[in-house]
């Protein structure tokens, strides 16, 4: 996994709550057996005026000019901002792959759905929970003064806007380190193979029916 490094970008404001993973990447693109190539179809139904198909070249498709990612000032934004319950619905990790492939490495919201939140950390994407008042202020400032520039510094757990305002955020220490170091967590878990083995031995005695072969 790519390491998460400090960066600055424009915030893309997506002023909705309950943005579900079906909206982030519609189901027809889930037919892919690959782990990348989803960026062109991020928010496909909102971004384009026609119906997207897997494997299609998206360059000539009619764009929805009302959608924020199609505005010149936001199309290169690498920070996405939304409201409550971002990433709800389906567990599809394709939603995070689509954000990552598009270039979005940070999502700001007042809350995230649990599975989406977890999936972010496996793919170098940082989900940041901010209080409603902060999100309100950022949306207002975007609306009143134009696009907001922000620096994301994971190591310091801080977000700094162009006008010098600093927002601190909380993050699980383990998850933070995984992102910063780009760690493969399977390898980490395999370090505990001995503990897993001991657990299995003990459990197989207590609840033998859980160890029957499914064949």
């Amino acid at each position: 996994m790519e390491k998460f490094i400090r960066y600055s970008s424009t915030i893309v404001p997506l002023d909705r709550s309950n943005i579900d993973t079906d909206a982030i990447i519609p189901k027809q693109f889930l037919k892919s057996v690959e782990k990348s190539g989803f960026g062109d179809n991020l928010f496909d139904t909102w971004r384009y005026l026609d119906q997207g198909e897997p494997g299609q070249d998206c360059t000539g498709r009619p764009l929805n000019d009302d959608f924020v990612l199609n505005h010149d000032s936001y199309r290169d934004g690498r920070i996405l901002m939304s409201r409550e319950n971002f990433g709800c619905g389906s567990s599809r990790e394709h939603a995070v792959w689509a954000l990552r492939d598009f270039g979005i490495r940070t999502v700001l919201a007042t809350s995230f759905a649990d599975i989406f939140f977890n999936n972010c950390f496996k793919n170098g994407v940082l989900p940041v929970v901010l209080p409603g008042a902060d999100i309100d202020r950022l949306f207002a400032s975007d609306q009143d003064e134009g696009p907001v520039e922000m620096e994301v510094d994971l190591a310091r757990q801080s977000l700094t806007t162009g006008d010098g305002r600093v927002y601190r955020f909380e993050i699980d220490e383990f998850k933070k380190n995984c992102l910063l170091d780009g760690l493969d967590d399977i390898a980490l878990t395999l370090q505990y193979a001995g503990d897993i083995h001991d657990y299995e031995q003990r459990r197989a005695r207590q609840v033998p029916w859980l160890f029957h072969d499914l064949d």
Binding site: P26, Q51, N85, C88, T189, I196, Y199, W209
Partner: protein
Amino acid sequence: MTETTLYDKLWDAHLVRQSDDGTALIYIDRQLLHEVTSPQAFAGLRENGRRPHRRDTNLAVADHNVPTTNRSAGIADPVSRLQVETLDSNCAEFGITEFAMSDPRQGIVHVVGPEQGITQPGMTIVCGDSHTATHGALGALAFGIGTSEVEHVLATQCLVARKMKNLRVNINGRLPDGVVSKDMILAVIGMIGTSGGTGYALEFAGSAVRDASMEGRLTLCNMAIEAGARVGLIGVDGVTIEYMRGRAYSPQGPEFDQASQAWLELQSDPGAVFDLEYDLDASDLRPQVTWGTSPEMVISIDDVIPDPANAPDKVRSQDWSRALEYMDLIPGAPISSVVLDKVFIGACTNGRIEDLRAAAAVVKGRVVADTVKQALVVPGSGLVKRQAEAEGLDQVFTEAGFEWREPGCSMCLAMNDDCLEPGERCAATSNRNFEGRQGYRGRTHLVSPAMAAAAAIAGHFADPAKL
């Protein structure tokens, strides 16, 4: 000894290792796999030269992409076909048991697991699918995971996790006639919202839950995720034990008795403390219908479409307006006046035998309204289909003008050919009414099987008890 919740007990029994930073390594007893969220996980194993840690505890079944007509012709769409074939070849390569498309036991993974006794009380169960919460109805700790975690479980049989908080929803009282588990869970989501359960394991308790059949309980837990909870749970009781008895992969003979003893311990202690609790009175519930594009946008059959002007706050008011526009509905209109183009009965929410019986009871001796273009019944599994046919339910449906299909996810998410056309409106027994869920620009209303059947007959939403 301190009093603990069912979730606490399941968590403690699966703890392999606790770290100082609050994360834990927990053991996973069972993994269910389907074609959509597993290919990249198998590819990851292959790239790193890893093998499944316990291949014999995984079960794979293709459900999302499979056609529901003319199975013998295979899958027409080459992209869908490749995905299903990829599952077949991955299972062959890694030695994983698969119910292939031609297997009579094939069906939606969350219907197949319980039906086969592959889901058992006291297990930890994961699947790359958010509706894995379903299996919690049997007193198992079951939750959806992403593809990276699918790979992690294949490789290590464990997950790195943090303990969730405990939430309990108590539903007491007797359900009125025509009101079922689907209405209970929709009402719960309406009450606590789609993020009300985020960060929690959600246990359903109370007399209405105890009175529910296992099918009804599976419906409740299925939609815990629509209330934001990754985990749905119901304590083990006699209903659970009887359900488990004699299933293909259930323990047999003396081992069943031994297991049953252990399973009956799987309940929250009477004095256990929950971080959050809600109460719902079942006795005054009415049949529910969603009107918007989020499962929390739900009203009862007697209500009118809500007005964004009355929304609790500005953000919600905007969300409601957007949803009404998408759904093409007018505030103040009675929901019962809303006319349907299609009806879909099926999905892991309501594709079990009891659901088909409930729908058939409404349909019997009646016909689908002329204005309804298509009414589909898609059994949740091959065994549900066979059982329904043995009871003559397929006849009831087809005589009324319904189409009787092969098992799969079908029009729940329309990855196969079953879908809504742009602008079409559907009464569906599935669990998600998101924009485009059942087809590009399609409009979905979530209802119970009886309500879906009533809507097919009337051509608009109608109280099944008053049809």
